[in-house]
C-alpha cells in the first residue's frame, strides 16, 4: 500500500489497485509511465483496467516523455481543501502531451493533470502563475508524497520556445 500526507491530504493507493499503484511507484523513480494497450498500441491516461479503444485488458508500462502544451487550465482563487486555502492563487493545468497528440482521432490527446510548481515541487508563486496560459510549453516534474510514492506536476519549460499564452483576460 502506498500512503502519505501531501499538503495536509491523506493519500492512499491500495495494493489491489495495481494500476494506480504501479503508476505512482514509477513516478517516485522519476519515470513517467503509461499503459500501452497490446492490441491498440495506444497509450492511455490516467491508469485504467482496460484499453478505452478496444477493451483489451493486456498492456505494458511504457516510459513517456513528460513534455507538452497547456490545453486548458483552472486558476483557483478560493481554495476548498485546507492546505490549498493558504496557497491561492494556484493553477490546475491540463497538458496535451506531445506524445500521441491527435491520435487516434484529432480530438484526442493524453491530457495530463497537475499543478504548476516551482523547481522545489512547491506550488508556483503568483508572479509565475501569471506567466502561464493556454499554449504554454511545460515539462513534468514530480512531487514526493512519501517513500516510493510521488505524483506528476508541471513546470514552465525554460528551454522551449514559448508562444504567447492565452490567459483569462481579467487579472
Amino acid at each position: 500500500m502506498l500512503q502519505g500526507e501531501y499538503l495536509g491530504m491523506n493519500l492512499t493507493v491500495h495494493d489491489v489497485d495495481k494500476e494506480n499503484h504501479a503508476f505512482f511507484e514509477y513516478c517516485a523513480k522519476g519515470d513517467f509511465r503509461l499503459q500501452k494497450g497490446k492490441e491498440s498500441g495506444l497509450l492511455r491516461y490516467p491508469p485504467t483496467t482496460a484499453c478505452p479503444w478496444t477493451g483489451d485488458r493486456d498492456y505494458e508500462w511504457v516510459s513517456v516523455e513528460g513534455k507538452g502544451s497547456v490545453h486548458s487550465y483552472a486558476e483557483v482563487h478560493h481554495g476548498i481543501q485546507p492546505a490549498f486555502k493558504a496557497r491561492t492563487p494556484y493553477l490546475i493545468l491540463l497538458v496535451d502531451l506531445d506524445t500521441q497528440k491527435g491520435k487516434p482521432s484529432e480530438d484526442e490527446a493524453l491530457r495530463v493533470a497537475g499543478n504548476l510548481v516551482s523547481e522545489d515541487g512547491e506550488l508556483a508563486p503568483p508572479e509565475v502563475v501569471k506567466q502561464v496560459g493556454i499554449g504554454t510549453r511545460v515539462r513534468m516534474v514530480f512531487s514526493q508524497v512519501s517513500e516510493g510514492f510521488a505524483i506528476p506536476q508541471w513546470m514552465i519549460d525554460e528551454r522551449a520556445d514559448q508562444p504567447a499564452p492565452w490567459r483569462f483576460p481579467q487579472e
Binding site: Y6, L7, M9, N10, L11, T12, V13, H14, D17, N20, F24, R44, Y45, P46, T48, P52, H71, S72, Y73, A74, E75, V76, H77, H78, G79, I80, Q81, P82, F84, R87, Y90, I92, L94, D107, E108, A109, L110, R111, A113, G114, N115, I134, I151, W166, F168, P169, Q170
Partner: protein, 417 residues
C-alpha cells in the same frame, strides 16, 4: 397536443404515456433546523397534496444523493407509504430526468403504479455542496488522486477547464455569461420562494470576486438546505388526479461523453455530453427545438446553462455567448430559461426545481404574486416587472436540460395535456 396525436412509434419511447402528477418542495433556505429525513417527508407531503394523493396512492419511491441524505425506506415509513418498488441512487446533477425515465420503466414493467422521486439535502448547513467542510476532509484514495491531490475537487474547479477552453475556442466573454445570472435573478425576483430575490446587473457579476477563473462568485449557484419531490404516474391515472395533465414526451438519461471517467481525454473539451444526447431527445419527444417554449437548464454555473443551450441546438455551437446575452432567455424573450431563478437564485436542488417549475408553467399556474381567482388559479398578468408575474403566456412545451459534469447529461421534454 392531445393524447391521440402522439406518434405511432410511442410504444418504444412511451411518448405521452406518462405524466408528472404532482410536485412539491420545502422552503429554500440557509440554516436548516431539519434533518434530511424531515425535509424529505415535508416535500413529499407537499407533492402528494398537490396531486391530491393519500399514502395508499403512492407505491414507488426513488431518490438520489451523494452520501448526504436519507433513504426511501425511512421516508416511506414516516409517511405511511408501503412500497412495491424503491431505489436510492448514487448521483447528483442529471439524476432528475434519468430517474423520471426509470420511474416510467418500472411502472411500465408492472412493478408499481405511482412513483415519488425526492432529493433531500442540507447543502449549506450539513454537507456543503460547494465542497468546503466535510467533503474537503475526506481521505483521498486511488483514482481520486489524479484530481483531488491537485486541489481540483469542487464542481467549479472540475469544470473550469471546459469553461476556459470555450472562451479560448470561441471568444466567449464573462460579460456574455453574466447575462445568465441577470436573467435568472430577474425571474427569481418574481418568485416568492427564491432564496435570492434581488435583481442583479452584468457589472455585479463581473465585479464579484474570482472563485476559480473563469468563474466569479455570482457565476456560481447558491448553496441551500431543502428537499424537492416529483410524482410520476401514467397519464391515464394522472387524468383523474387533482392537477391539469403534464405529459412526459421524451427523455435521455445520463448520456456520457467518451471516457466519462476522465472526459478531458476526448475533445473538443468545450463540447459537452449533450452533443451525444440531442438527437435522441428530440427524436423520442417527436418535436423540434423551435417548438420549445421554455427551457430549464442545470445552472450550477452561468456557463453550464450556456453550454447546454448551445449543444442542444438552440443556437449554433460557439454562439452560446451571443445567445444568452441576447434577451431570448429572459421572461418576455422568445424562449425563457429557468423562470424560477434556478440554482443560481431560487435554490440548489441538484436539478429538481427546474422540472418542478416547468411542470407549473405547463399547468399555467406558476406560484408568483399574481392574484388568485375564485377557482383557486392565479390570474396571470404577464407583467414581468419586479415582484409581479413569471408565467409564460400559452406555454405548451418545455425542455429540461440536466447536467452532472461536462461529460454526463440528461434531458426531458414535457407538454401540456
Amino acid at each position: 397536443m392531445a393524447q391521440q396525436e402522439f406518434g405511432v412509434d410511442s410504444s418504444k419511447t412511451l411518448r405521452g404515456k406518462y405524466a408528472i402528477a404532482g410536485v412539491g418542495e420545502t422552503t429554500y433556505r440557509r440554516g436548516s433546523t431539519e434533518s434530511t429525513r424531515n425535509l424529505a417527508t415535508w416535500a413529499i407531503g407537499n407533492a402528494m397534496a398537490d396531486a391530491g394523493l393519500k399514502p395508499g396512492d403512492v407505491d414507488g419511491m426513488l431518490s438520489y444523493s451523494g452520501n448526504d441524505s436519507t433513504m426511501s425506506n425511512f421516508v416511506a415509513g414516516d409517511l405511511g407509504i408501503r412500497l412495491n418498488f424503491y431505489m436510492d441512487v448514487h448521483g447528483g446533477g442529471s439524476s432528475t430526468e434519468a430517474l423520471i425515465g426509470i420511474a416510467m420503466g418500472v411502472i411500465e414493467a408492472g412493478m408499481c403504479e405511482t412513483v415519488v422521486i425526492f432529493r433531500a439535502m442540507n447543502g449549506y448547513t450539513q454537507i456543503r455542496i460547494g465542497g468546503t467542510g466535510a467533503r474537503s476532509a475526506v481521505p483521498i484514495e486511488g483514482d481520486q488522486i489524479h484530481h483531488r491531490a491537485y486541489g481540483w475537487q469542487a464542481a467549479g474547479q472540475m469544470f473550469a477547464p471546459t469553461f476556459m477552453r470555450h472562451m479560448y475556442d470561441y471568444g466567449t466573454t464573462s460579460e456574455q455569461l453574466a447575462h445568465v445570472k441577470v436573467a435568472h435573478s430577474k425571474h427569481a425576483s418574481n418568485n416568492p420562494k427564491a432564496y435570492y430575490k434581488t435583481r442583479c446587473t452584468v457589472e455585479d457579476v463581473v465585479n464579484s470576486r474570482i472563485i476559480v477563473k473563469p468563474l466569479h462568485l455570482l457565476d456560481c449557484c447558491v448553496e441551500t438546505d431543502n428537499a424537492t419531490a416529483i410524482i410520476v404516474t401514467s397519464a391515464e391515472r394522472a387524468r383523474d388526479m387533482r392537477q391539469p395533465l403534464v405529459h412526459i414526451l421524451g427523455l435521455v438519461g445520463r448520456v456520457t461523453k467518451p471516457r466519462a471517467d476522465m472526459h478531458y481525454q476526448h475533445g473538443p473539451i468545450s463540447r459537452v455530453a449533450r452533443y451525444y444526447a440531442a438527437d435522441r431527445l428530440f427524436g423520442n419527444a417527436g418535436v423540434t427545438r423551435e417548438d420549445i417554449d421554455i427551457t430549464g437548464s442545470y445552472d450550477a454555473f452561468t456557463f453550464t446553462t450556456m453550454l447546454q443551450l448551445e449543444e442542444y441546438g438552440f443556437c449554433k455551437k460557439g454562439e452560446g455567448g451571443d445567445y444568452v446575452s441576447s434577451g431570448i432567455i429572459e421572461l418576455g424573450g422568445a424562449r425563457p430559461n429557468n423562470t424560477s431563478g434556478g440554482h443560481l437564485c431560487e435554490g440548489y436542488t441538484h436539478g429538481m426545481n427546474m422540472v418542478i417549475e416547468n411542470t407549473r408553467q405547463l399547468r399555467h399556474d406558476v406560484d408568483d404574486s399574481c392574484p388568485i381567482g375564485p377557482d383557486g388559479k392565479r390570474r396571470h398578468t404577464y407583467d414581468y416587472s419586479t415582484g409581479r408575474c413569471r408565467q409564460v403566456k400559452d406555454a405548451e412545451l418545455t425542455a429540461n436540460l440536466g447536467w452532472a459534469t461536462p461529460g454526463i447529461g440528461s434531458a426531458m421534454i414535457m407538454t401540456r395535456g
